[in-house]
Amino acid sequence: MSNLIKFKIDNKECMAEKGTYIVDAARENGIYIPTLCNMPGVKPKGSCRVCTVKINGRLMTSCTTPVADGMEIESSAAEIQDIRKSIIELIFVSGNHFCPSCEKSGSCELQALGYLYQMMVPRFPYDFPLRKVDASSPKIIKDQNRCIQCKRCIKTIKDEQGRSLFAFRNRGHRIEVVLDKELGLMMTEEMADLAMKNCPVGSILKKEKGFDIAIGRRKYDHEPIGSTIKL
């Protein structure tokens, strides 16, 4: 089609339809750019910065930037990898991530990125913030210790009228994503399943559901995140 444009990622010739976001265009060309807040099919928000790439010497988020004809994108340079790693580390220290006791462990996207970048220890001091667990909903447990405020639940869990069941509360460093008290009561079984699935971390847990996948068979036990994309 005439809408196809050419661009380069790490000097590799790529092609994609005009207007495609860089992460998606990269994926179509067999190149994995890590993401965390982004979800295929959902309008990008560019909040986590994990998908940072360099274009014309400038750092940009590849989930919010469309490819342009002749664009030259740097993604795998050591400097960019280290920026991504430092963002992952920041997210780890600014919450309370006790992976050994987390239900999502092994299938968590944040943890999987920690593995991908071989995070042995974050370079930043642990914050140990005081966060609450809200178990008042009949369907889910919302663990604020692990929420990375990616908004994926807000964007994808809605009632028939399009109202989000999850919402932001407070501002600044006290900001949190909570289940709306009233709308939350209308959460169906399916919505709860989807919310748990769409949350990249272990912040939304379905009630009355235990660890049901054996260690060794979980999503990222053997295959690094992104390995299904790479050619």
Binding site: N96, F98, C99, P100, S101, Y115, M120, V121, I215, H222
Partner: protein, 182 residues
């Protein structure tokens, strides 16, 4: 050339990391060819008797004794390794971080649902007991740590690869599966 000297200790940990050291299975025979053990629960040597090359720390610091032992390891060991989640980030003991110490003690010894026999409501207060710290500290917040091996427990293969690489100077082979946080 004399063999490198190894020391290990468990601070606020569960001994799971030490179990994982034993999980190297028959390679333990190779290990005793490669290194000489000094202060460690493995050989039950209680005090440092010579300068140590590699010190392995399991567990973070939850009380004054942990801090003292960790500092003595730093003083006596050329290289220190934080082994496992508790040493690296406090681990499960650090779940108490953020909860005031009085509340923790009250829950554990007076008000908790499983407390039955403490009729006189005594909190442990013997002079012999180490003082609890206000929170659990990762080891690298107390002394300088040279290397970190994550996992709960760290995989035996990770421990083995890291030790062999340190001792022989060969590069480490780290397959994807050996770096895990659980």
């Amino acid at each position: 050339m004399s063999k490198p000297v190894l020391a290990t200790t468990s601070l606020a940990g569960c001994f799971g990391c030490h179990m994982s050291i034993l999980d190297i299975d028959e390679r333990i025979l190779q290990l005793i060819e490669l290194v000489e053990f000094n202060k460690s629960p493995v050989d039950d040597i209680k005090t440092f008797t010579k300068p140590v090359d590699i010190g392995i720390i399991e567990g973070g610091c939850c009380n004054s004794e942990n801090v003292e032992v960790l500092r003595s390891f730093r003083k006596n060991c050329r290289i220190l390794i934080s082994l496992g989640e508790c040493a690296i980030m406090g681990g499960l003991p650090a779940l108490r971080n953020g909860i005031p110490i009085e509340e923790c003690l009250h829950e554990a010894y007076i008000g908790g649902p499983t407390v039955q026999l403490n009729k006189s409501h005594i909190l442990p207060n013997d002079d012999e007991l180490p003082m609890l710290l206000d929170r659990v500290y990762p080891c690298h917040e107390i002394v300088k740590i040279d290397y970190f091996l994550p996992g709960c427990p760290p995989r035996a293969d990770l421990i083995w690869e890291a030790l062999v690489a340190l001792i022989t100077g060969d590069p480490m082979k780290l397959p994807y599966e050996v770096i895990k946080f659980d």
